[in-house]
Amino acid sequence: MRGCGPAGVAVVRLDSIGKSYGAGADVLHDVSLTLEAGDFCCVTGECGVGKTTLLNIVTLAEQPSAGSLTLFDIDALAADRATRAALRRRIGIVFQDLRLLDHLSAGDNIALPLRIARVREDEIRDHVNELADWFGLAHRIEAHPPILSAGERQRVAVARAIVSRPELLIADEPAAGVDDETAATLAHVFERLNGLGTALLIATRDVALAQQFECRRLHLERGELTSPDSGAWQ
């Protein structure tokens, strides 16, 4: 585990998190996880084991049924709405379904977190253009998502997630359905970003992808998080 942020400041701390829907079985059971600044963690697991639910809890999209969640040393579950919004602005998210807005151009999609953070328009333009170059999207900046290829859409989604230099990047199946070149680009981006001190939490069912990274690997099965050393992984 690497840490290049302030000593002892946990970016994410999940403590005995449980999640169930209605009277059904627990999707997550007693899950604990701590990420500090600069940490890189991959969670693997089959479809439907609760990876997305776990990420949704970290991104404050869902409330856990049990346990506590601390983000940037703030009790996220007890925080008021304004604080929760401010916490979300410190997190970049690559959604499994990308969630690009079709009525906005690729450039405006990428710019959204900066606009929400009220960054100056000229700076937004600079950042977006720079990132579009980096992702090989410069010629597609005015294009709208429906006419982009799957790989281009994935790159726009990742660019949007990192444009505001988040302290924590969450990615749900970031390389699903993309070509090898895009997958390699994304892997490179994640490593660069992590090298700059951003904590990364990636969920994927693709064990090979997780093995590409020099990261802490955890496995989610039957609602419980285990490390490969326990034998549950691989």
């Binding site: 999209a61 409330q63 709405r81 979300r88 602005r89 998210i93 953070a117 009220r118 328009e121 700076e123």
Partner: protein, 293 residues
């Protein structure tokens, strides 16, 4: 990165060309129309009450039985003119009295053969406190069966009827306003539902509730002002047509186009439509957003 910190955040939620927004505008135009028609009715009623107070509050009508002699009538007129607060007393000619009776007796009424009472129009200073009971007593001492009418009872009845009518119209305007708020809320819920995915995304990447609600409230304000103005203009046209087509005596009162109250009602309706739509949209959007974790 430098923060802008100038003005509100502008999120593009494609509200400008939204068909639900157009519906909102026309619904508010209809309600604005009804509110302004009600407002004009209130202006007319208040004009009526004012006019009655002015005209009847400054006059008395004296009815003298037909058999009273001319000499006694002269004594009565002298007594009236000497009374403090009385500005003048005019005995109506028999022909004038016959004209007043025409709606009941017809034009061929034989005034010479009928015992028609003589009427005296007494003009009084509205500020003077005339002791009507004392005046009645003095007049009765000159001639029996004299009736002095200060119109108080009729005026009180008419005013009370007008106030009841005005309350009814005001309640109607209040219902129209509440309906505008409720319909704006319902249409805002539909607009939020159509953009659910976009709003969820904005919420998840850190947009504050107020920032997401702002485009909805701003658009509702714009459409409310526009709809209210359209409705108000249509109501004014209606009033123009009605006042032009109907005979003057059929209208309860005449309100001049230069009357500031007419324009006040019109402008107020547009402003209130905008304000109600804005507040309803904001509350609805914030309540919906508060359901998100």
């Amino acid at each position: 990165m430098t923060l802008q910190n100038t003005g509100p955040l502008r999120l593009d939620l494609s509200l400008a060309g939204d068909p639900i927004g157009r519906v909102l505008c026309w619904v508010l135009a209809l309600l604005g129309y009804l509110a302004v028609v009600g407002g004009i009715a209130l202006v007319l009623l208040s004009s009526d009450i004012g006019e009655w107070d002015r005209s009847l509050g400054s006059s008395l009508t004296l009815q003298i039985p037909a058999e009273v002699s001319a000499a006694r009538i002269e004594t009565i007129l002298a007594l009236l003119r000497q009374t403090a607060g009385v500005r003048g007393a005019r005995l109506l000619e028999l022909a004038e009295t016959a004209k007043l009776l025409e709606p009941w007796l017809g034009p061929a009424a034989a005034t010479a053969t009928l015992p028609i009472p003589r009427l005296v129009d007494v003009q009084v200073d509205p500020k003077a406190a005339i002791d009507i009971a004392d005046l009645r007593q003095k007049l009765s001492s000159v001639a029996a069966n004299i009736q002095l009418d200060d119109h108080r009872q009729w005026l009180d009845n008419a005013r009370s009827t007008a106030i009841r009518l005005a309350s009814l119209v005001a309640a109607g305007i209040a219902i129209v306003t509440l309906s505008a708020a409720a319909l704006t809320a319902a249409l805002t819920r539909a607009r939020l539902a159509v953009r659910r995915e976009t709003i969820e995304l904005l919420h998840l990447i850190g947009a504050a509730d107020g920032d997401v609600a702002r485009p909805f409230q701003a658009d509702a304000l714009r459409r409310g002002l526009l709809g209210g103005a359209i409705g108000a203009a249509a109501a004014l046209v209606t009033w123009l047509v009605v006042s032009g087509v109907m005979p003057a005596h059929a209208l309860p009162a005449v309100v001049a186009w230069s009357d500031w109250r007419l324009w006040g009602v019109t402008i107020a309706a547009a402003l209130v439509a905008g304000l109600v739509a804005m507040v309803a949209a904001r509350i609805t959007a914030l309540r919906r957003l508060s359901l998100m974790p």
